[in-house]
């Protein structure tokens, strides 16, 4: 049999494999072929709550990668936040050994992807590391917007889709209906799909055998120049950045000098290995078809960007793998410490989060109203919420955030084009020749009974109806073009409340569109509060201004003097409310010399003042800043 690798001793790849599996009595090609043949790289695609993480847990159990007693619910979701919200925020990968019914031992590389649109790019890179995707659909819910979006992503990457019907234990389960839905909507056969209950561990074995049978083994030549796709990375305080890779071609081992093809950064590999549940297991080499990690004393995560291609400095691949792009933040907001003294803590916390999140951007910002803080950029709303929540929970910070903003594209009369992500920097209207805003393609999946409500909502949000398709008799896919700035403004909450939580939603930014935008300023006692300014379509300005004024009136306590609340465009007041002056707040009597009572009352009032921001002469509670972020109530 002809060997493509030449001299056995010179074959890095074979040496690597032999070190791993011991000397084989076969021809080297057969050895390699056998190893690759027994690798299955796959991910699980599902809508939130459809049981992705539970299924992953069952697979971990059945492959005996984790002893039952060590099982913690949803093992792959490491963060408290992930477990609590039932969402996967970061990609996770784990290598498992599975002894199949055919008697062979297989290596399963399970790559769990975040299921949310904000992390679309990361999802696409994770999928690009796989040959197959297990599509989990809830037998009682059917296909949802995100399921479809991620399934299409998987199909785009040429992945084999393996449908699985989950939650058959539920009384409302309708597996036959869901099978038909998968066949009709996605257009793949689903008759053979295992019907499982991940929760109760029913039929998981069938899923594992399906993975062996239907996920194609990887291909790739271990002796070609290295091409490895980075699909995730995280910062480890001892080893530096741990880079998760899928080796497409070639091989990599400790001592190699690697080069990141997009950023050009070079490093010496210190360690390679496989991700086992709860630990990194060093191995001497990673070769084509493998999923594993590299540690190379990389200090900053931006040197190991998701989507980049790792190659060898001395024997570089001619081209990087396709599909790399630098992810750019889409949504911005100001984040301020409630207590100004915590500014350095906030900076440190953001720096730490950024170690693991190249998509998070931040730069110092000063607000007259809120003091020193940071302008932060996020992939989307969920990303923003997650970062805010992690700052508050993991770093114990009390935050005040400003309304989220998108990036507006402003062409000035001078011909200059500026991108504005902070309303404070919005140019003088007289200097603007044209304003453009980002527009999205949005799909809403919903039971038919809510179609009217959804269309009303989208209409209110300046949506342009594109089309509507029936998924089955009871459910529709409503397609709208929606301005991103309407989505970032409590759209999810509004959608949830108007569809009793039954609708699912997905969007992608499709480009910029000319728009009639204005900057709305809010004034308290005649002074503009910079943190409350925002950019809005002129049609929406009056309604928004009125609602904001009402909300502020609700949340600003009465003060020693009357506080006028005004909303203005340019110099023109378009909404006004008044917080009446406090007239009576007095302890008329001192009870039998009980001064302590009076002192306690004072302490309580002083304590209350700590949660207030002093804006000129007006005291504004932090809740007021948050309340204007939720107007659809």
């Amino acid at each position: 049999m002809p060997s493509s690798f030449g001299n056995q001793l010179q074959s890095r790849a074979l040496a690597c494999i032999i070190e791993r599996i011991g000397p084989y009595p076969f021809d080297e090609v057969i050895v390699l072929h056998n190893v690759q043949q027994r690798i299955r790289n796959f991910s699980i695609v599902a809508h939130i709550d459809h049981g992705k993480s539970t299924l992953a847990d069952r697979i971990l159990e059945l492959t005996e990668a984790v002893a039952k007693r060590d099982m913690e619910e949803q093992l792959l979701d490491n963060m408290d936040l992930e477990r609590e919200r039932g969402i996967t925020i970061k990609a996770h990968a784990v290598s498992l050994d599975y002894k199949a019914d055919d008697g062979q031992l297989y290596t399963f590389n399970l790559i769990d992807t975040p299921g949310h649109v904000d992390f679309n790019y990361e999802v696409s890179r994770s999928l690009a590391a796989c040959e197959g995707a297990v599509l989990v659909v809830d037998a009682s819910q059917g296909i949802e917007a995100q399921t479809l979006a991620n399934t299409y992503l998987a199909l785009d990457h040429g992945l084999e889709i393996l449908p699985v019907i989950n939650k058959i234990d539920l009384p409302a389960a309708e597996p036959e209906r869901v099978i038909k839905e998968i066949e009709d909507v996605i257009g793949i056969p689903a008759e053979e799909a295992p019907q499982i209950s991940a929760k109760n561990g029913v039929n998981i074995h069938a899923v594992l055998e399906m993975i062996v049978r239907d996920v194609p083994p990887p291909v790739g030549d271990p002796d070609k120049p290295l091409q490895a796709l980075i699909f995730d990375s995280y910062y480890d305080p001892y080893k530096g950045v741990i880079v998760y890779i899928r080796v497409k071609e070639g091989s990599v081992r400790p001592g190699d000098t690697i080069k990141m093809m997009a950023t050009g950064a070079e490093f010496t590999v210190v360690e390679t290995g496989h991700m086992r549940p709860n630990l990194l297991e060093p191995d001497d080499c990673l070769a084509a078809g493998d999923v594993g990690y590299i540690a190379a004393s990389i200090k900053v995560i931006s040197d190991a960007r998701v989507g980049d291609t790792v190659t060898l400095k001395d024997n570089p691949a001619p081209d990087p793998l396709p599909g790399y792009r630098k992810v750019n933040p889409m949504v911005f907001c100001g984040i301020y410490p409630a207590d100004g003294a915590k500014y350095p803590d906030l900076r440190e916390a953001l720096e730490k989060l950024q170690l693991n999140d190249a998509a998070l951007s931040f730069e110092p910002e000063t607000s007259v109203a809120l003091g020193f803080g940071f302008r932060c950029g996020f992939l989307g709303l969920l990303h923003m919420e997650i970062i805010q929540e992690r700052l508050e929970r993991e770093y114990n910070l009390d935050l005040v955030t400003t309304a989220p903003s998108v990036i507006y594209k402003i062409t000035k009369t001078s011909g200059d084009v500026v991108y504005i992500d902070n309303p404070t920097n919005y140019p003088d209207p007289g200097t603007i020749a044209q304003a453009e805003e980002p527009i999205t393609n949005a799909h809403i999946f919903s039971p038919t009974e809510f179609v009217g409500n959804i269309m009303d909502l989208c209409q209110e949000r300046r949506g342009v109806f594109k089309d509507m398709q029936y998924i089955d008799a009871g459910r529709v896919d409503i397609h709208y073009e929606l301005p991103l700035n309407e989505i970032v403004y409590d759209f999810f909450d509004a959608l949830k409340s108007r569809t009793r939580g039954y609708a699912s939603f997905d969007y992608e930014v499709m480009g910029y569109q000319k728009s009639d935008l204005v900057k709305l300023d809010v004034m308290l006692n005649g002074e503009v509060v910079d943190a409350l300014s925002f950019i809005v379509h002129s049609d929406k300005a009056y309604t928004r201004a009125r609602k904001i004024a009402e909300k502020l009136k609700e949340h600003i306590p009465r003060q020693l003097f009357e506080v006028p609340i005004q909303a203005a465009i340019g110099g023109k007041i378009i909404a006004r409310e008044t917080v009446k002056a406090l007239r009576k707040d007095v302890l008329a009597k001192c009870y039998g010399g009980d001064i302590t009572r009076k002192k306690k009352l004072l302490e309580k009032q002083k304590e209350g003042k700590k949660r207030m921001r002093q804006l000129g002469s007006v005291e504004v509670p932090q809740e007021a800043f948050m309340a204007v972020l939720k107007l659809d109530e």
């Binding site: 003060q559 020693l560 003097f561 406090l582 007239r583 009576k584 707040d585 007095v586 302890l587 008329a588 009597k589 001192c590 009870y591 039998g592 010399g593 009980d594 001064i595 302590t596 009076k598 002192k599 009352l601 004072l602 009032q605 002083k606 209350g608 003042k609 700590k610 002469s617």
Partner: protein, 367 residues
Amino acid sequence: MSHLIGLYLHVPFCLRKCGYCDFYSRKGNDDLYDQYTSALLAALGRYGDAGSYEADSCYFGGGTPSLLGPKRVGTLLAAVEKTFGLHAAEITLEVNPATVSLADFQGYRAAGVNRLSIGMQTGVDEELASLGRLHTAKDTVRAVEEARRAGFENLSLDLMLGIPGQTEESLGETLSLVRRLSPEHVSAYLLKIEAGTPFSLRPADEFPGEEAQVALYQFACQGLEEMGLRQYEISNFARPGLASRHNLKYWNGEEYLGLGPAAHSFLNGRRFFYPRDLEGFLSGKEPVEDGAGGDFEEYVLLRLRLVEGLTEEGVRARFGYSIPQRLRRRAKPLAATGLMEEDETGLRLTRDGFLVSNEILARLLAE
């Protein structure tokens, strides 16, 4: 050197509890009054050897102290005099108009009481009924006349503002009656609905609203001033020189000793109080520590209750420094809106300022 202190004796008994009251009081009987008098004497005895305290005011508050009767009050005052001197002291007894006869007044006068605080509340009978008071306006008139006849030259009337149904018109009637009775002192308190009292269960719309209360307060202040009763504290008015010496001790940050359940004390820089527990007091339980007192912040919050306010002179005498600039800086915008006055002699609240004094203090003293 001996301390000049005020003495407060709490009498926690009432014939019946008024719906708005959250003072500590119980139903009593002669046996209990005797026991209680003994307990007060015992408590007084504990300060007997101290020798370092001298009282120039003694105040019987309640409850309804007049329930004790002249004899017990006399016994107590004799003991107080023995312990604390009571030289040229102001000796006040709170009196419920419905429960005191001419003979009682004479008895109290003979026992040494020289000032009465009469719980008039209002001169309108419907309002008295709505407060659940047992007396009528007529009883007040009779009580004042009999007190005068018994030789009392220093009378204070307690008024209440913000009573259900009270209007400027009805308050006008009350003030006319006050003018007729010509007291030396008036306390006019805005009714505060205390949690846990029967009044707190009544619908809010039965009570005058905030603006109406403000108007009643302003109306009362003006009416009282017009009859020569000068406002000297948020709720207190007096003819010149007749401000309550006892109450001024509270507002000036001076020392006082309170005996009886729920009575508070400030002595030697410490605040302490007897818990609201009659049985405990009867069995001789000691008062409870309530922390340090007398710091600058406390002084500010007390002094700003007075019309005179926080004076440079007073602050310098007590603390040895002048009014901090931070305080002045914060007072200036409030002065600009008419809630305070700020000048070289000091800081003070205006009448509008008094009405929102809690909020002003929080602003002035916030960290």
